[in-house]
C-alpha cells in the first residue's frame, strides 16, 4: 500500500525543499535518505552524542530527535551548507589547521555546534566553548584541538554569518 504523504516544506542550506514522507520520520533520516545529505551522522539515535546536530531556525538541534513535521517552514542548515562557493567556512579552516577533526564522524555535528556557538558569542571564553560543545561527543581528540579550532576561528573573524568582509579578512 502506497500512502501519499502530504508535503512538508522547509529551507535546507538556503534552498527550499518539499518532501513527502511520514510526518514522524526523523529529520536525520529525511536529510540522509530523502535529501541525500549524508554529511549529518547518526551516532546514538537518542540525543546523547550530538553527531546529528544541525541548525534549525537558529537553534542547535539533534536531528535524530526532531520529527520532520517540526521542520515545516523552518530554516535548516547542515554541514553541507557551511562552505560557500567552494570556500571553507572559518570554523572549517580552523579545524583543518588545528587538527580539530580526526576520524571525522563527530565533525559535522561538532562544526554545527561550533558555528552556533560563534554565532551567539563571537569571542567565547574557554569555559563557554566547553559548555557550548558539551552536547557533542568526540572520542578521538580529547577535545583540546577542537577548543583551539574554535578559538582560532573566533580570532580569524566572526564566523557567522559568512560575509564577504569575513572572507576578505582571512
Amino acid at each position: 500500500m502506497n500512502v501519499h504523504w502530504p508535503p512538508i516544506r522547509f529551507t535546507i542550506n538556503g534552498e527550499t525543499c518539499e518532501v513527502h514522507v511520514p510526518p514522524m520520520k526523523r529529520l536525520l533520516d529525511v536529510l540522509r535518505e530523502d535529501l541525500h545529505l549524508t554529511g549529518t551522522k547518526e551516532g546514538c539515535g537518542e540525543g546523547e552524542c550530538g553527531s546529528c546536530s544541525v541548525r534549525m531556525n537558529g537553534e542547535l538541534v539533534n536531528s535524530c530527535l526532531v520529527p520532520v513535521l517540526q521542520a515545516e517552514a523552518a530554516e535548516v542548515q547542515t554541514v553541507e551548507g557551511l562552505a560557500q562557493q567552494g570556500a571553507l567556512h572559518p570554523i572549517q579552516e580552523a579545524f583543518l589547521k588545528c587538527g580539530g577533526a580526526q576520524c571525522g564522524i563527530c565533525t559535522p555535528g561538532m562544526l554545527m555546534a561550533a558555528a552556533q556557538l560563534l554565532a551567539r558569542n563571537p569571542h567565547p571564553q574557554i569555559a563557554e566553548i566547553r559548555e557550548g560543545l558539551a552536547g557533542n561527543l568526540c572520542r578521538c581528540t580529547g577535545f583540546m584541538r577542537i577548543f583551539e579550532s574554535v578559538v582560532v576561528a573566533a580570532q580569524e573573524k566572526s564566523a557567522d554569518p559568512i560575509t564577504e568582509e569575513a572572507r576578505l579578512a582571512r
Partner: protein, 753 residues
C-alpha cells in the same frame, strides 16, 4: 642520526590528507553508501549466556516469505571466524556460549521491518551453568572452554626469584583490578556485502584490518583468494574495536547477500554495538615485591589474570602484551610473571588501544606508589632509583640498546607541572578544605609493533606506484580511522621521493589494489609500515636514476617525466618492499626471552586531581604528558593522538563503567555509559622529547597506544595523594570513593604520601 635531521615534509604540520572531505561532509562512511537494490540485515542473538539451542521458531504473524533467513546450516565453508584460534563460530550451531551470540540472520528490503522481525524469532534453550568472572573460571568447577578454561598462559622468568626474598628489607604485596571498557567509536560497526557467483564476495565496511576480514570470508565461504574482496570505507573511530569484530559482521552480511541475491547492508545501532561487540579485557593483577634497604627493587612476583570472555579472539596476544609490560620501565634482577587468560561466558573481549598494557601498567604504577608508602620513600625518588637506563636489561633480558631518557622525562614532567610545589601546597590546604587536591605520577613504556617474532611472521609487503595520470600512490592495507595513517604515510613517501606532498595520495584500502602490509594495530603504522614506504620510495628513486635518467636534483615535474620514461621502457612504475627486522633481534617465544619489541616509546605522566569529600566526585583538573616517541612525523596529529588517548584513559579511570547483568551489558546506551565530555576533559599539556629510532620511518617509533597506558595510574596515585586512601580498582566512581573514604575513616587515618 641527529635529532633535527633536515626534512621538508616530515615533521611539518601539513593538512590532514582527507581533512577537507571530512569537514565538508563529503567523506563517505559505510552508512552513507546508498544502494537502490540493497536489502537490510539484522541479527537474532542469544538471550542467555550458555545453553543448548532446543528450537528456533518463527512467529506465524510475520510473512517470512518476504525475508531471507540464514542459520549456521547456510555457511558454505567452515563455520569459524579465523583469527588466532578457530573456536568462534560465525553463527551459533546448536549451542551458545555468551549473551548476544549470533544465531539467525534476517534480511528484508525494508530496514524497519527487518528490525521488528528479530523479536518474532523465538529461540528455546536448555540452559547450562554459566560463569562470569576470573575467579569462577579459575576455580574450574564449571568448564566452559577447552579442558580447563585456560585460553592462554605465559611464564616469564629472570634471575632467581625464590632466593631473592631473603635479602629483602621490605616485601610489599598488592592486588589491582581493571574493568571492561567500551571503545565508543562514534560510528557503529557496519558492512555492506555483495555476492556474485563469478566475482565471489565483496564487502565494504568500517574496519581496521582488511586482510583479517579477507581471511575469515575466504574460509567461511570456502573461496579462493581472487574471489574475495574487502574495501574499507571511511571509518569513524576504531581504537581496536574494529580490529576483529568486522570479520564476523562481514561474514554475516555476505551470507545474507549470497542467499538473498541482493547487496545487504548491516549497520548496527548503538544498543546492538554496545551489547554485542568486543571491549577491553578486565584484569586482576597481584604483585609481591621485594625491595632492599636503599629502595632498589630486588624481586617482582607478578600474577596476572584477564577475563577473555567466551571465545579466544585476541586474548592470547593481549595477554602477551600485558605480560611484557607488567614490570614497568624498571630494573629488577629477579622477576617471575605468571599470566593467564581465562574463558568465561561473557561477550568475548577483544583489542582495545594499549592491548593489555594499560591493565598491566595500572597495576605496576599503583603498586609503585604503595611500595613507596610502605617503605617511607617519596614515590618520585623511588621510581628514579629503579628506572631502566641505556644498557640495562628489562624483564625479558632485552638490552636497552637505544637511549633511555626516563630521568629527563621525569624532570620535565615535574617542572612543567610544578609538581613538588603544588603537592606541598595541596597537602597544606587539604587540612581545612573539603575538596582534597593531589598530584600523581606514572612512568611507563610501550613496545612498538608486533611482539617478538610477530613482525617477521607478518612479513608485510608495502610499496608505492605512479599512475599514468601522474599521481604517486602509497600501497598499503593500513587504514585511516582518525589517527592519521593517510597523512603520515604520504608525508613519508613525498619526503623520500623528494616531491610535493600534494603529489602523493593513498591507494584505496581495497584488497584488490593493495598488498598485505599487516593490520593497523600495535602502534606499528608509523614505525614499521612507514619504514617500508620510506624504503620503497628510496628504491623507486634509485630505479628512476638507473633506468630513466633522473638527475641528482629534480623538480616534482622532472620526477614525473622520469616516471613516464620508466613506464615506456618497463611497463609499470612500481616499487615494493618487504619487512626486514632490525639486526640482532632475537626472541624466544617458548621462554619469553629476548627482544620483545624493536623499540619502546617512553613516558612520564602527571595528573592533578580534586576529590570533593562532600559530593565524592574525583575531578582531573590538569594533566601533563611528557613522552619520547622517536621522531614526531606530524606535530599536530601527534599531539592529537596523545590528547585523545589521555581523554580515553581518564574515562577508563574515573568515568566509564560497563554494568553487567549475568553476562549482558545493562547500560548499553550513551545515556548511561558515560565518557568524558568537553566539560570533563581537563587542560592537557603535551611535550615530546625526540630521539630518532634508526629503524623507524624518519626515526619514528609507535605512538598510538602509549597515551592510554598512563592516565589511570597517575590519576589514582593523585587520588591517593589527595585523600591518603589507596584505591586499587578502576573505574573509580563516586560510589566507590564514598565507600573507600568511609571505610578508611572508620579504621584509621593512613599516612599521606
Amino acid at each position: 642520526m641527529s635529532t633535527h635531521a633536515t626534512t621538508r615534509i616530515v615533521g611539518a604540520p601539513v593538512p590532514r590528507k582527507e581533512g577537507v572531505d571530512k569537514l565538508v561532509g563529503r567523506a563517505l562512511y559505510v552508512d552513507d553508501l546508498q544502494r537502490e537494490d540493497a536489502w537490510y540485515g539484522a541479527t537474532v542473538r542469544s538471550s542467555i549466556p550458555r545453553g543448548i539451542i532446543r528450537s528456533i521458531a518463527f512467529d506465524r504473524a510475520v510473512d517470512w516469505s518476504e525475508f531471507t533467513i540464514v542459520t549456521a546450516k547456510d555457511v558454505p565453508g567452515e563455520n569459524q571466524i579465523h583469527l588466532i584460534v578457530a573456536d568462534q563460530p560465525c553463527l551459533a550451531d546448536g549451542k551458545v556460549n555468551h549473551c548476544e551470540e549470533p544465531i539467525v540472520l534476517l534480511a528484508h528490503p525494508d530496514k524497519h521491518k527487518v528490525r521488528e522481525a528479530v523479536s518474532a524469532v523465538k529461540i528455546e534453550y536448555d540452559p547450562l551453568p554459566a560463569i562470569f568472572s576470573i575467579e569462577e573460571s579459575e576455580r574450574q568447577d564449571v568448564i566452559v572452554w577447552g579442558a580447563d578454561n585456560l585460553l592462554k598462559s605465559f611464564l616469564l622468568e629472570k634471575g632467581d626469584l625464590d632466593s631473592a626474598w631473603a635479602d629483602a628489607a621490605h616485601i610489599v604485596e598488592g592486588e589491582y583490578r581493571t574493568g571492561a571498557q567500551e571503545h565508543l567509536y562514534i560510528e557503529n560497526n557496519g558492512i555492506i556485502a555483495e555476492y556474485d557467483a563469478e566475482r565471489g564476495v565483496t564487502v565494504w565496511g568500517s574496519l581496521q584490518c582488511p586482510y583479517y576480514v579477507f581471511k575469515s570470508l575466504k574460509s567461511v565461504f570456502d573461496l579462493p583468494e581472487k574471489k574475495v574482496r574487502v574495501i574499507q570505507t571511511e571509518t569513524g573511530g576504531a581504537f581496536g574495536g574494529k580490529e576483529d569484530y568486522p570479520s564476523t559482521l562481514a561474514c554475516h552480511a555476505a551470507l545474507l547477500a549470497m542467499k538473498s541475491g541482493h547487496p545487504v547492508k548491516m549497520v548496527y545501532d548503538r544498543l546492538e554495538d554496545l551489547a554485542a561487540t568486543t571491549k577491553r579485557h578486565p584484569s586482576r593483577v597481584r604483585h609481591r615485591t621485594a625491595v632492599d634497604a636503599n629502595g632498589k627493587l630486588l624481586a617482582m612476583d607478578i600474577n596476572l589474570a584477564t577475563d577473555g570472555g567466551a571465545y579466544s579472539t585476541l586474548s592470547s596476544t593481549v595477554l602477551s602484551r600485558a605480560t611484557l609490560h607488567s614490570t614497568g620501565p624498571y630494573l629488577c634482577p629477579n622477576v617471575r610473571v605468571r599470566s593467564n587468560a581465562w574463558a568465561t561466558n561473557m561477550v568475548p573481549y577483544g583489542a582495545f588501544r594499549g592491548f593489555g598494557a594499560p591493565q598491566a601498567i595500572f597495576a605496576m604504577e599503583r603498586h609503585m606508589d604503595e611500595i613507596a608508602a610502605a617503605i617511607g620513600m617519596d614515590p618520585i625518588e623511588f621510581r628514579r632509583r629503579n628506572f631502566l637506563h641505556d644498557g640495562d636489561m628489562n624483564a625479558t633480558e632485552q638490552v636497552m640498546r637505544e637511549p633511555v631518557i626516563l630521568d629527563q622525562l621525569l624532570d620535565r614532567a615535574l617542572k612543567e607541572s610544578d609538581f613538588h610545589a603544588k603537592r606541598a601546597r595541596f597537602a597544606h590546604e587539604n587540612d581545612t578544605n573539603p575538596v582534597k587536591r593531589g598530584m600523581g605520577i606514572s612512568a611507563f613504556y610501550h613496545g612498538s609493533g608486533f611482539t617478538g617474532s610477530g613482525e617477521v611472521v607478518l612479513n608485510s609487503l608495502a610499496g608505492v606506484d605512479v599512475t599514468p595520470e601522474g599521481k604517486v600512490r602509497v600501497l598499503v592495507s593500513n587504514t585511516e580511522f582518525g589517527q592519521g595513517t593517510n597523512t603520515i604515510l604520504t608525508q613519508v613517501a613525498a619526503e623520500a621521493l623528494g616531491i610535493d606532498y600534494s603529489a602523493v595520495s593513498m591507494a584505496p584500502a581495497d584488497t584488490n589494489q593493495v598488498p598485505n602490509s599487516g593490520p593497523t594495530v600495535a602502534s606499528r603504522t608509523s614505525m614499521v609500515v612507514g619504514r617500508l614506504i620510506e624504503r620503497a620510495s628510496l628504491q623507486l628513486i634509485a630505479m628512476l636514476r638507473n633506468s630513466a635518467g633522473l638527475g641528482e636534483k629534480y623538480t616534482t615535474e622532472e620526477f614525473f617525466a622520469a616516471c613516464e620514461r620508466f613506464r615506456a621502457a618497463k611497463g609499470e612504475v612500481l616499487s615494493t618492499c618487504r619487512y626486514e627486522p632490525p639486526p640482532g633481534i632475537v626472541w624466544d617465544d617458548k621462554k619469553y626471552h629476548g627482544e620483545a619489541y624493536p623499540a619502546y616509546a617512553w613516558a612520564v605522566y602527571v595528573a592533578q586531581v580534586a576529590v570533593d569529600t562532600i559530593t565524592y566526585s574525583a575531578e582531573v583538573e590538569e594533566f601533563w604528558a611528557v613522552q619520547e616517541v622517536g621522531r614526531v612525523l606530524h606535530p599536530v596529529l601527534a599531539e592529537g593522538q596523545i590528547e585523545g588517548g589521555i581523554a580515553q584513559g581518564i574515562g577508563y579511570a574515573v568515568y566509564e563503567k560497563v554494568v553487567w547483568n549475568s553476562g549482558r551489558m545493562a547500560n548499553n546506551q550513551m545515556t548511561n555509559y558515560i565518557m568524558p565530555t568537553a566539560e570533563d576533559v581537563p587542560p592537557i599539556h603535551v611535550f615530546f622529547e625526540q630521539i630518532p629510532f634508526r629503524y623507524g620511518a624518519y626515526g619514528a617509533k609507535g605512538i598510538g597506544e602509549l597515551p592510554h597506558d598512563g592516565p589511570a595510574p597517575a590519576i589514582l596515585n593523585a587520588i591517593r595523594n589527595a585523600t591518603g586512601v589507596p584505591f586499587n580498582s578502576i573505574p573509580l566512581l563516586p560510589e566507590d570513593l564514598f565507600a573507600g573514604l568511609a571505610a578508611s575513616r572508620s579504621i584509621e587515618e593512613p599516612a599521606a604520601l
